[in-house]
Every structure is written in structure tokens, then in C-alpha cells.
């Protein structure tokens, strides 16, 4: 690759590469005499683990064998978001969306679609709601209500080819800023105007953060990117890094220009090997093209970027802890102020933003802060990426305007709850957030309204739960997580979460007392008030929100010694269904403690609960599935 020495060089490269990629943009007319196809195969973590690379290899091999190379091109892309249907691929220019594609399907796709323009119907998406065939991305329920800004390039470009990013306006914002020598304050004003708030969780206004970091004097400053997505149930940062790493790089370089930094670090989890690899490729290509390093685009501005790998500690998502970890130390947070904008990495002013926040910046600068501020709610501008998971039909990654209701997300986009089961709650904000019951499904989600109902935006994980999930157990699950991940530096968090967990374990084991509920609440408030960092301050949220909305489940555990969802092991009873039992006697013979009695051919058999050890041996052996746990 030849170094780009000016904005003109960049523009020229964009013009050259745009022709190659424009086929993939919506609204491209089908040129009948030139049947040229781009096949985009999802290569995110989800589809890769369902063997999308084998599909791609097979495609490439067949295309070579059939000498179709001039007409059909195969690309690997980042995540399309529709992980449930993986491996997925999209064929351009007609935007046909194929799901669950196996290597054996390759021949038929080439024979039918590429040779005769006939879509392979059996690989299309059938809407379970309407029963209709939905052929293109634009028709599919899952994509229709989405507005992709941070994810604009995910699933569109090849993340391992910088020229594809450049073709779609990539590095243009940077190029124009450096060439015109736009005063940093002007750029910061634009970011402020956009109303963008940090997408890492707390939602601090991004422009203001940039302004603070720019305001502190000093020759040495740093830009950090927090890619330590530790929130269980969130994977938007991962998908952006895997699908569009350059948008993060470009934003970091611009941030460096604005605050006067010449060095940046991306702190990424070692658990994300594909993301790390794509980042390495992206940094390397940006360096080769002269978009990173000394004298960027001939402007004299220098910015360097390095990757730091996280080593598995949730608390390192907290910015002061992250800074310790970037320096190679234990990731323990420290009190703020002073904020990292003043005293950060190696005691220098440091700007720290999350991946998704950075991914929004290049578009905002290209299209203007006002455009971005026109989307969303008065309190929260723009869009938010959510990771939909749990008991939901369409698991995956979505991006919607702020202010979309939970109901729209779960039912219209997510397709509702599988197998006709009843919705119970949606958990947002992970271990820092709370569970929202059905009564609040029409809440328009933004930072403020989520906080008002006892949850929070967090990084954007949405875990849907149904009647088979026990809310007390979920609270216990989160406390086990935070207790384990507490760095141990401050007592309220280290000891407090441990005590909370013990109480919850007692309740789920059927040994709780009604007084425990008051104790839980008091302890929660103390931990919130006294903890040093965000981890401890928000750790009680899952308990408080379940106590508020699902207190009846706590009471069932304590008073009736019963788990309504049938999850808590200590409270389960093994029961024989009167109707289904055929009195074959197998269960009584298999039972190791002789807890089952009955007369052959005279149903039903009975289990004596005080003898039963709940080993489940009878459940496995029953020929008519008449035995169950509840």
C-alpha cells in the first residue's frame, strides 16, 4: 500500500474503491447486462463458531473451479446482528439475506442465484409472525425498525480491508480536520451539539469530557478506548471491533487531535481473539497508509496507537481501574476526583471513551451534530446498540433510536418469547442494572427513564426472562458475579456483596426468614452509599429491583418454601403426574432411597417428599415423561 500524503490522495483512493463497493449500498440498480455479485459472509464470532468460514472456503473454491471470479466475489464481513440465524450471508446487489447456510448449500446458490438470478427460497427467512417469506434485509422484521449509525458498516464492509472503509467516507472527517486545521474547540462544539452521551454505561456527555481533557495543560496526554466489555450479556463492542475497527481508530485519532494527545491505547479483552486480531490488522493498515503514526496525511500531526490486552477482570471497565491495568498493575480503582481528564495514565490528562461512543464520532463529524441530535429523545440523543439475548426468538445485535419502547424491541424486532411462554422481565444494564417487569414494557428507553424504573442503560445488554426464570436466583446470580469480581480494595463492596450473596443463597436454599428482606434492603443502600467505585455503587441494583417488582417470589421462597419458576434446586420437589403415570413401576425400582411407592398397573405412583433426595434418576428413566421437578 502506498502512503497517502494529503486529503486529495485520500479522496482519489475513495473514488477508486467506491466503484467496487457501491454494489452493496441500498438503491443500487440491477444492471442486467452485467450480472456482478458480491457475497458477504458474516465472520463475526457468532457465525464463525457455527462454521461460516467453511461456507466461505467452499464458496471461494467453487468460484475458482467454475471460473466465476470475474462475476462473483466473496467477502468476509463483521456481524450482521442476526446471530440466531447464523451462518448468514447477504448477496448484493439484490440484498438477498440467506440464513443457516451450510457448505453443502453453496452449489445450489451458485447454480440457481448466480447463474439464473433465481433466489434459493429454502434458505430465506420466514417470519414466524406472519408466515411470510422475507427475502431482503430491508424486509426482515428484525432489521426493519433499526437505525444503524454505530453499526453502519458492520456487515457491509470487509473489516480487514481499510480501502472498503475509506470507500464509505472513512477517514474523511479526519482528513478534512487535519487539512483545514480546524480548531479543536470547533470539533468539540460539534460533538457537544450532537448530544452524544458515553455509551459505556453512565452516559456522561462526550463533548464535555473532550473539553475537560483538552482544557488541562500538558505536552503529554493520552486517549484510551475502553474495549473491556465485561458486562455479561453485552457484545456490541465486540461486534463493532470485529465489523468496523477503523471507525474506532479514526475517532481516537480525532480525539487525540482535539485534546492534544499523541498516543492512544485500546484496552481490549483477551477473551475476544477475533476482535484483537482485526484491530491489529486495522492498526497495521492505517499505519501503512499514513493515517496513523507521524505526519498523518502530510499534516504534521502525529498519533500512535497500541493495543493493551485485558486479563480478565470486570472491574477494569471502571476508568480509574482500567488506567491501572493499562500500566500493567492490578486493576484497582481510586477515588475521583481528580478525574482521569486531569490525572490519568502515568498521571497525565487522559481521555477515556467506550468503543460504541467512538464509533459514532466519525459520522457525527461528517453529517453534523445537529443531524445526530435530531434522533432520539430530549435527554438521550441518537441511537443505542442493544444486545438481545436470553429467552427471546431473535437473539442478536440491534441498533434503534433512543426512545424506542421495550415492547417494540422485544416483540417487533426480537420476535417475542419462544414456545409460547409468558414474558416475565427484561434485565438491562447487567450487574449494575435491574429487572423490568411487564408493566413497564411501554417505557421509552433512554438514560433517564431506565433510571426512573430502577434499572440503567449500562452498556446495552437486554436479557429477556420468561416464566422459567426465577428472579431471586437471577439476583443471586448477579451478586455471585459482583462478589467474585469485586477488586477487594474497599470494605463495603468486598464484604457487603459477600453478605448480600449469603442472604440470597439462604433464601434460594429455602432457609430464608422474612427479616432477611429488610436486611437485604438496608445492606443494599449501605453498599450503594459507601462503595468506592461504580462496581460497588451499582452492585445492589439487581437485588433492589427484584425486591421491588418480584417481592412475591421472595416471599414464596421464604414462606412457602417453594420456587415458583422451578429453578432453585434446594426447593424443588419431584412429582409424578397423576394423569400421565402408567404405573409401570420403573421409577420405584430405580429410586436409590425407596422414596417411591405404588401398585403396578394401578396408577398413579407417589413420591414421599421427606425421603426423596431429588437425584432425578426416576425422571430420566420414566418411559412416559410423567415425572417432573417443580
Amino acid at each position: 500500500m502506498k502512503k497517502l500524503k494529503s486529503l486529495d490522495d485520500l479522496r482519489k483512493l475513495q473514488e477508486e474503491t467506491y466503484q467496487a463497493i457501491k454494489l452493496r449500498l441500498s438503491g443500487t440498480p440491477l444492471e442486467e447486462n452485467l450480472p456482478l455479485y458480491h457475497i458477504l459472509v458474516c465472520s463475526g464470532t457468532g457465525c464463525t463458531s457455527s462454521r461460516s468460514h467453511q461456507v466461505r472456503a467452499r464458496l471461494e473454491e467453487e468460484i475458482r473451479k467454475r471460473r466465476l471470479g470475474e462475476r462473483v466475489k466473496v467477502f468476509k464481513t463483521g456481524c450482521f446482528g442476526f446471530c440466531k440465524m447464523g451462518p448468514v450471508m447477504v448477496v448484493h446487489p439484490d440484498r438477498t439475506f440467506y440464513i443457516h447456510v451450510q457448505p453443502e448449500d453453496v452449489d445450489e446458490i451458485l447454480d440457481s442465484h448466480m447463474a439464473h438470478g433465481k433466489v434459493v427460497e429454502r434458505l430465506l427467512y420466514h417470519s414466524p409472525r406472519t408466515g411470510q417469506l422475507q427475502r431482503t434485509m430491508d424486509e426482515i422484521d428484525f432489521f426493519r425498525k433499526q437505525l444503524r449509525i454505530a453499526l453502519r458498516n458492520c456487515g457491509v464492509i470487509n473489516p480487514e480491508d481499510i480501502t472498503e472503509y475509506i470507500a464509505l467516507d472513512g477517514y474523511r472527517a479526519l482528513g478534512e480536520i487535519l487539512t483545514r486545521r480546524t480548531p479543536p474547540q470547533e470539533i468539540i462544539e460539534e460533538v457537544k451539539k450532537s448530544g452524544l452521551r458515553g455509551r459505556g454505561g453512565a452516559g456522561f456527555p462526550t463533548g464535555l469530557k473532550w473539553e475537560y481533557a483538552a482544557g488541562y495543560p500538558g505536552d503529554t496526554k493520552y486517549v484510551l478506548c475502553n474495549a473491556d466489555e465485561g458486562d455479561p450479556g453485552a457484545f456490541m463492542d465486540r461486534s463493532i471491533l470485529e465489523g468496523d475497527p477503523h471507525s474506532v481508530l479514526e475517532a481516537m485519532i480525532i480525539a487525540g487531535y482535539c485534546i492534544g494527545a499523541r498516543q492512544g491505547y485500546i484496552y481490549v479483552r483477551a477473551e475476544y481473539p477475533i476482535a484483537v486480531q482485526r484491530l491489529e490488522i486495522a492498526i497495521d493498515q492505517a499505519r501503512q497508509l499514513g493515517l496513523l503514526g507521524d505526519n498523518i496525511l502530510g499534516s504534521g500531526f502525529a498519533f500512535h496507537l497500541d493495543i493493551r490486552l485485558g486479563a480478565g477482570a470486570f472491574v477494569c471497565g471502571e476508568e480509574t481501574a482500567l488506567i491501572q491495568s493499562v500500566m500493567g498493575l492490578r486493576g484497582e480503582p481510586r477515588p475521583r476526583p481528580p478525574f482521569p481528564a486531569e490525572v490519568g495514565l502515568w498521571e497525565k490528562p487522559t481521555l477515556n471513551n467506550n468503543v460504541e461512543t467512538f464509533a459514532n464520532i466519525p459520522v457525527i463529524l461528517r453529517r453534523g451534530g445537529e443531524w445526530y441530535a435530531g434522533i432520539g429523545t430530549p435527554d438521550s440523543k441518537g441511537t443505542k446498540v442493544f444486545a438481545l439475548a436470553g429467552q427471546i426468538v431473535n437473539t442478536g445485535l440491534i441498533e434503534v433510536p433512543m426512545g424506542t419502547t421495550l415492547r417494540e424491541i422485544i416483540y417487533d424486532i426480537g420476535g417475542g418469547i419462544p414456545e409460547g411462554r409468558a414474558f416475565k422481565a427484561v434485565q438491562t444494564g447487567g450487574p449494575s442494572g435491574g429487572s423490568i417487569p411487564a408493566a413497564h414494557l411501554d417505557t421509552r428507553i433512554d438514560f433517564k427513564s431506565l433510571a426512573e424504573i430502577g434499572s440503567m442503560m449500562g452498556s446495552g445488554g437486554l436479557i429477556v426472562m420468561d416464566e422459567t426464570d426465577c428472579m431471586v436466583d437471577i439476583a443471586r446470580f448477579y451478586l455471585e458475579f459482583t462478589q467474585d469480581e469485586s477488586c477487594g480494595k474497599c470494605v463495603p463492596c468486598r464484604v457487603g456483596t459477600k453478605r448480600l450473596l449469603e442472604i440470597l443463597e439462604r433464601i434460594t436454599a429455602g432457609k430464608g426468614e422474612m427479616e432477611d428482606l429488610q436486611l437485604l434492603e438496608d445492606l443494599c443502600h449501605d453498599i450503594k452509599d459507601a462503595s468506592l467505585c461504580g462496581l460497588g455503587q451499582t452492585a445492589p441494583n439487581p437485588v433492589l429491583s427484584t425486591l421491588e417488582y418480584f417481592r412475591h417470589e421472595y416471599i414464596a421462597h421464604i414462606k412457602e418454601k417453594r420456587c415458583p419458576a422451578g429453578v432453585c434446586h434446594g426447593l424443588l420437589r419431584v412429582i409424578i403426574s397423576d394423569e400421565k403415570c402408567i404405573a409401570c413401576g420403573i421409577c420405584a425400582r430405580i429410586c436409590p432411597v425407596n422414596a417411591i411407592s405404588g401398585e403396578r398397573k394401578k396408577p398413579p405412583y407417589h413420591i414421599h417428599q421427606d425421603i426423596c433426595i431429588k437425584c432425578g434418576a426416576c425422571i430420566a428413566k420414566c418411559p412416559v415423561e410423567a415425572i417432573y421437578k417443580r
Partner: protein
């Protein structure tokens, strides 16, 4: 070197020194050195930690503090294959615990332990960000999604077969 790592490990110590020499000029590279050292030795026994502390001129308590803080680092030898069972929320509500129990039963070890033949180490892990495939496990770098306990024996068998072939 009279270490429990054996004579054949001399090569490993040479590689460790190369790693330290490569990174020691830059500040704050302790975690990176430890990551690389763990790639070489498979784990971080006390001798390795002491050596790194000496060469980087850090108190050994600092090095051990970092090793014990991060879940990526192990002070005990791990198996050839590390099975990580994701216990993120999505996997948890989709039945990851049953999958974990199935593996425990199949390998006769508890979470956190290594099999006697040093083939497998079983480790519960936090969200790996593949929630769309829940429940998920990874075996070394390989990801397996949408699992039920019934899938476990055949997946493990593949590795047991491969492991036996390469065993000395």
C-alpha cells in the same frame, strides 16, 4: 536449572528472557510479559514469577499481586485443552449450569480442576460475548454454541481421541 519444570524447559527459560528483553524498555508491560510467559510455560509457577520480578526490577509481591488479580493467569499447570464454560447471564438463563454439570460428570472433575491425564482443564468463565449462541463453551480457541448436556460427550470425545494420538 533445578526447577520442577524439568530439563527440557531450558528452552522455555531462554524464550522467557527474550520476551523480557523485548518488552522491558517500555513502561507498564508487566501484564503483557506475564501473558507471553504463560503462553510459553502454560502457567506461571513461582520460579517464573520470581525470575520476571528480578529481571524487571519489581518486587515479587507486585508480580504475584498482578498474577492473582486477573483470572487469565494460572499458578497451576493446566491441561492441554482448557474448556471454558460461559456463565454470562444469557448462557445462565439458557441452561449453562446443566452443561457445566454434564462436563463435570463426563470428566469426573469439578470446575477449576484438571483431569489426571492433563488433557482437560475445566473453567467457568464470564461472558465471552457470543450470547446469540447461548449456552456456549470454548475449548482452547474453538467455540461451541447452542449446547445441551447431550452434546457434551461427543464434543469431548473428539478431543480425547486427538489427545491420545499426540500423547508420547
Amino acid at each position: 536449572m533445578g526447577s520442577p519444570l524439568g530439563q527440557a524447559a531450558a528452552e522455555n527459560w531462554r524464550r522467557l528472557d527474550e520476551i523480557i528483553d523485548y518488552y522491558k524498555q517500555q513502561p507498564g508491560m508487566l501484564i503483557r510479559v506475564l501473558q507471553k510467559a504463560q503462553e510459553v510455560f502454560g502457567y506461571l509457577p513461582p520460579e517464573v514469577q520470581t525470575h520476571i520480578a528480578d529481571r524487571l526490577q519489581l518486587p515479587v509481591s507486585t508480580v504475584n499481586g498482578v498474577v492473582t488479580f486477573y483470572s487469565l493467569f494460572s499458578q497451576e499447570a493446566t491441561g492441554k485443552y482448557t474448556i471454558s464454560v460461559c456463565l454470562g447471564t444469557a448462557c445462565y438463563v439458557k441452561g449453562a449450569m446443566e452443561v457445566l454439570r454434564a462436563i463435570e460428570e463426563e470428566l469426573h472433575i469439578k470446575a477449576g480442576e484438571t483431569t489426571l491425564d492433563r488433557l482437560f482443564t475445566l473453567k467457568p468463565t464470564r461472558c465471552i460475548g457470543a450470547c446469540g449462541l447461548a449456552p456456549v463453551i470454548t475449548i482452547n480457541e474453538e467455540v461451541y454454541g447452542r449446547l445441551t448436556p447431550a452434546d457434551i460427550p461427543s464434543i469431548l470425545y473428539k478431543y480425547q481421541k486427538a489427545g491420545r494420538k499426540t500423547a508420547p
